[in-house]
Amino acid sequence: MENNTIMNITGVHKYFPGVHALSDVSLDLQRDEVHAVCGENGAGKSTLMKIIAGVYRPDDGLITLEGQPFVVHEPNEAYRKGIAIIYQESSLFPDMTVLENIFIGHEIRKPVLRGLRSPQMIDYRAMREKANAVFNRLGISVDLDRTVRTIGVATKQMIEIAKALSFDSRILILDEPTAALANREVDALFKTIRSLKSEGVSMLYISHRLDEIFEIADRVTVLRDGKHVATERVAATDRNQLVSWMVGRSLDNLYPKEDVEIGEVIFEAQSVSLRGVLEDISFNARRGEIVGISGLAGSGRTELALSLCGLVPPDSGTIKLNGKAVRIHSYREALEHGIAYVSEDRQVYGLVLPMTLKVNITHKAIRQITNLFSVINRGKEEQIAAEYMHRLAIKAPDSEFVVNKLSGGNQQKVSVAKSLAVEPEVLIVDEPTRGVDVGAKSELHRIISELAKSGKAIIMISSDLPEIIGMCDRTIVLKRGRKMGELLRNEMNQEQILHMAL
């Protein structure tokens, strides 16, 4: 076993100001192995990967590569030693071509003149040949001169992999590679991973998605709070085991949907249309009810939410609240009528990342904490922030903490808190658990259930079918901007929803 080890990590520590991000973490990677690393957000997965990739340096511990001590000071050094990482956040340059992206930082060069000390210039022809060879190996064809901005997410991922392979890497690190991919695209990625494995590439595969780990990985290592919890062969473990390792407790019910008395209709959309996007959509939501909106990407899910809350007012259609037609032409009006929206993209639309929890939570509810002269009442601000931090169990030292230092799950809770602070009657949540770990997901579900129980109507958009099925009383299925139908809780299953959405 030992001589088959390509990389060995022993007792690695990493400190950040105020945080012990990694504490005595050890891990070994075998040749031709897909080794999954999982853990909740903030467990230290990404930190570990960045240490291997040379972005960070460990404060203590030893890493060996093929028995030799492995020390890198910058990413290119790791690349040159045959280790490539595909980051969670895209590391592509949108305004560059595919070819430029693949070779940025390690362009193939040739001497300007044939001479010993001649300066070097970039050899585009050689790069082109190598890029084509890499794409052939991946079994896809990509126009090398296309600007990356114009390319879809799945192809971008392939370009990142191609970039990694252009270094002739022996170890490939994939950090949440499927986070932005559709199912079909995930299949293609897995095919690539398998073929790379058969060519002798070892992979570290970081993911929240347990199903994927069981499908693709040989072994799995679980991290929790910066510590190594377990390493086990995938075949020798199961889903519940992994979850309990990750959260340190067992999750009995991933979807804590509560039985709630459903009240009268509070929200009603009639024939909502948005030219070219939505066509004649009608539905309603009752107190205590969670209404799902399901559909493929591009079906108009988010656009529907945006029209209902005035962010993109519909071209025609009526919105009724408690039976009365209301005019909602801006988000401000929606808030005044008690409709709040939690964006699918907390980082871009949901939060002001460099600001404190307090400011973020009271952002929408600003009118409740200001006096006649628009001066903020500090006490009220603190009180509202503290209330929602407590209600949503947001893990942060205090309300002065800056939001971008929180984990994804806690950020999402802040994003939800921000909408709750206006005390809406109708809450529209768009992809409430995208990119958060299992523990935070279940907490968010619990929060949503409680809101419904307290008599609010919840409209929940999600591309995660188990989430829709587990959480909703009723779901509307959209396809190309049209409503294909409604399914009640007892009629919902993945096949039925997909059948309508496809």
């Binding site: 592509l92 340059f93 305004d95 560059m96 930082g105 362009e107 005035g310 962010l311």
Partner: protein, 324 residues
């Protein structure tokens, strides 16, 4: 396979050609002296706009480019007056440009101050220094033909030496931008600094380097401009950076970094300069010229960007959404 794509460079070239045709038909622009003076006047701007463009590629800017040029011109003229051979004096001027621009880069990177702040402050420092530290506030007079041979000289009696140098600089920098690792890293740093780090590029080093390079190019540009006249007054360079930056932006460089082509910048510089010439030919006074030029630059950037979606949204009331 030949296909003509409606690129920004193409639309700039067409605009430029249209303006030249207009001028030739309506004025006496289309003469040897007209072309000569246009090329002469445009050359320093071409070089300086390239310098600025390369800084802007990295997402930085140098507001003090105008006042740095003033120091270069003063140094060159002063040393020449003191008996230093012209070539050495020019070289010393360029070294001053490198030092001042390099200092901007170093301060910005080492102390993590945005370059717009550093160079804005530096502009003020420079203007103050003109008046207080330079002998005679930097005025140097009666430099004579030994000084102006470069600025006024022509190749084959028509093409100014300055233009020849500008074209050589342009070709060299286009090559640097496309065929060197440094050139590619400029775009990478400006496009996505984090991703640049992940690609093994050191953004700090790249930014410092580009400021030094900018200084050298500004030096060349300022020597070109200074040697067209027999006297030097550094204060005429105050505000020149507006034209350099405008030329780069008209040429298609994104102020946010990461995007742009130097061929576009050359055309953009020519266009900005041709506008000045047009104003003069049409008989506008100085201040009208400024105002009109500003307006036209705004329009040119807008039109050549080809992005009208914002205008449409602006014109369609009731669809401008609030923030969340």
């Amino acid at each position: 396979m030949v296909r003509i794509k409606p690129t920004r460079e193409l639309s700039l070239a067409v605009l430029l050609a249209a303006l030249i045709i207009f001028l030739s038909l309506t004025t006496n622009f289309n003469t040897v002296s007209g072309i000569y003076s246009f090329l002469l006047a445009a050359s320093p701007t071409i070089v300086a706009a390239i310098a600025l463009a390369m800084v802007i590629f990295t997402g930085n800017i140098d507001i003090s480019a105008g006042t740095i040029s003033g120091f270069v011109a003063f140094t060159t003229g002063y040393l020449f007056r003191a008996g230093v051979p012209m070539l050495l004096a020019a070289l010393a001027g360029i070294v001053v440009g490198v030092a001042l621009a390099g200092l901007n880069g170093l301060i910005s990177v080492k102390f993590r101050v945005p370059s717009i702040v550093v160079t804005l402050a530096m502009t003020m420092v420079h203007i103050g220094a003109y008046a207080t530290f330079l002998p005679g506030s930097g005025w140097v007079e009666n430099l004579g033909p030994g000084f102006t041979w470069f600025g006024r000289g022509r190749l084959l009696g028509v093409i100014p030496y300055a233009f020849v140098v500008a074209m050589l600089v342009a070709v060299a920098m286009m090559w640097v931008a496309k065929y060197t690792r440094f050139g590619r890293s400029l775009y990478a740093v400006g496009g996505n600094a984090q991703a640049a780090v992940y690609s093994g590029i050191n953004p700090d080093r790249t930014v410092i380097k580009v400021f030094f390079l900018e200084g050298a190019l500004l030096g060349i540009s300022a020597v070109m401009r200074a040697t067209t006249r027999s006297e030097i007054m550094p204060s005429v360079f105050i505000g020149r950076e507006l034209f350099f930056i405008a030329a780069a932006l008209v040429g298609g460089v994104s102020i946010f970094g990461g995007v742009g082509k130097l061929s576009g910048v050359v055309l953009g510089s020519a266009l900005v300069y041709l506008l000045t010439v047009t104003m003069i030919y049409l008989g506008f006074q100085d201040y009208y010229q400024f105002a009109l030029q500003g307006t036209i630059i705004l329009l040119a950037v807008f039109i050549s960007s080809g992005d009208f979606s914002r205008l449409k949204r602006f014109l369609r009331p009731g669809t401008v959404g609030g923030t969340q």
